[in-house]
Amino acid sequence: MTTIDAPRTPVNRTRRGVNLEKWGWMYMRASGVVLVVLIFGHLFVNLVAGEGVKQIDFAFVAGKLTDPFWIVWDTLLLWLALIHGANGMRTLVNDYVTKPKVRAALHFALASSTAVLLILGTLVIYTFDPCPAGADPELVASFCSTL
């Protein structure tokens, strides 16, 4: 059996000015509800509607990312899901990692990887070129030929 002795951090509560825990808690619930819609909408459009899973190729994705509706959709999905996941991961770290230094290191790693992914993801969504120069016309969206 595992044994757990004294709490890792002794009671020494000092009140700080800003308290984000309540907002974090609310965020998880609110984003959760929105993400249900975003994720299932995403899955339905990609995997079920039209020709289903067979339709997915570069052209399909490129087509979606020229439509402002899907740009907003995917941006929301990216930000809400990543922050939701990272915040969840943060609580897991808090629950399971007891050494303050390791905890701080993991929090840092988590925050920085989340930031990097958000930036990269956002860049992809907004700087995506659906018709790269010199690409095989077979692979890109049909509207590229009209450009």
Binding site: T3, T9, R13, K22
Partner: protein, 251 residues
């Protein structure tokens, strides 16, 4: 007519057969041991005996050095919360017949509080959290007679008045295990008892105290506390009600 004490009705109500039960107790004496260790004891028990009876048999017949707390022996004083087969229970409310006696019974101190000796932990951090939620009626009026309260208002917080401060809930909480700064279920239950008392005027103060990094938001709703409570208090529900009250900004 000198009277004789009634013999144990155990003989009519349950099975009479005595049998040998193995208890494996996690021992630790800081004066002697560097690390806690597990020790086996065989005791003769009846099925209607309690785990506390088994511990007494060990202490009184086999090893007087075994240390544990106990007082009322019927689940009202909250002294003997301990981890029995991995679950937090009161030793005096856990009957041998309700455990699987084909296997040894593991008994150890509750977790998350500093281990003092054998089954005894330091309760001070637990009571410190309790004291911090201002667990007392705060009301400015000083009436001539009793303050009035309807039956419904009284029922609103009935469940959380049952708390005996045994720490079974708090020491079953995985958040508390790793973060001793978390107020813990028991403190929140005792705050709940006053937040929802119609006579109290300081709900806002307690809601503010619990709207903290180490307050109710740390609760992960694992329901360990509700399961551990020997008084049957719906602890997780009480915590959720406090969360809702904070969001609402009033009880």
């Amino acid at each position: 007519m000198a009277t004789t004490a009634p013999e144990a009705p155990a003989q009519e109500v349950g099975a009479v057969q005595a049998f040998t039960v193995t208890l494996i107790v996690r021992r630790f004496d800081p004066e002697k041991d560097a690390e806690p260790y597990w020790q086996d004891f065989d005791v003769e028990m009846y099925s209607t005996d309690r785990v506390l009876d088994a511990l007494h048999k060990i202490k009184w017949d086999q090893d007087g050095t075994l240390a544990f707390r106990r007082s009322c022996a019927h689940g009202i004083c909250g002294s003997d919360a301990m981890r029995i087969n991995g679950r937090n229970r009161l030793a005096c409310k856990t009957l041998i017949k309700d455990l699987d006696i084909t296997k040894p019974i593991y008994v150890e101190a509750i977790k998350g509080l500093p281990l003092e000796k054998d089954l005894i932990v330091d309760m001070e951090p637990f009571f410190e959290s309790y004291r911090q939620v201002q667990p007392f009626l705060i009301a400015s009026s000083k009436p001539e007679k009793e303050r009035l309260q309807t039956i419904e208002q009284r029922a609103r917080f009935d469940d959380t008045t049952k708390c005996i401060l045994c720490a079974a809930c708090t020491s079953s909480c995985p958040v508390f295990w790793t973060d001793g700064q978390y107020f813990g279920p028991a403190a929140i239950v005792n705050a709940h008892r006053f937040i929802f008392d119609s006579r109290d005027e300081a709900a806002q103060v307690r809601l503010d105290i619990l709207n903290d990094k180490e307050g109710v938001w740390r609760c992960r709703t694992t329901f360990n506390c509700s399961e551990a409570c020997p008084r049957g208090i719906e602890v997780t529900k009480a915590i959720a009600e406090v969360k809702q009250a904070i969001l609402r900004g009033r009880p």
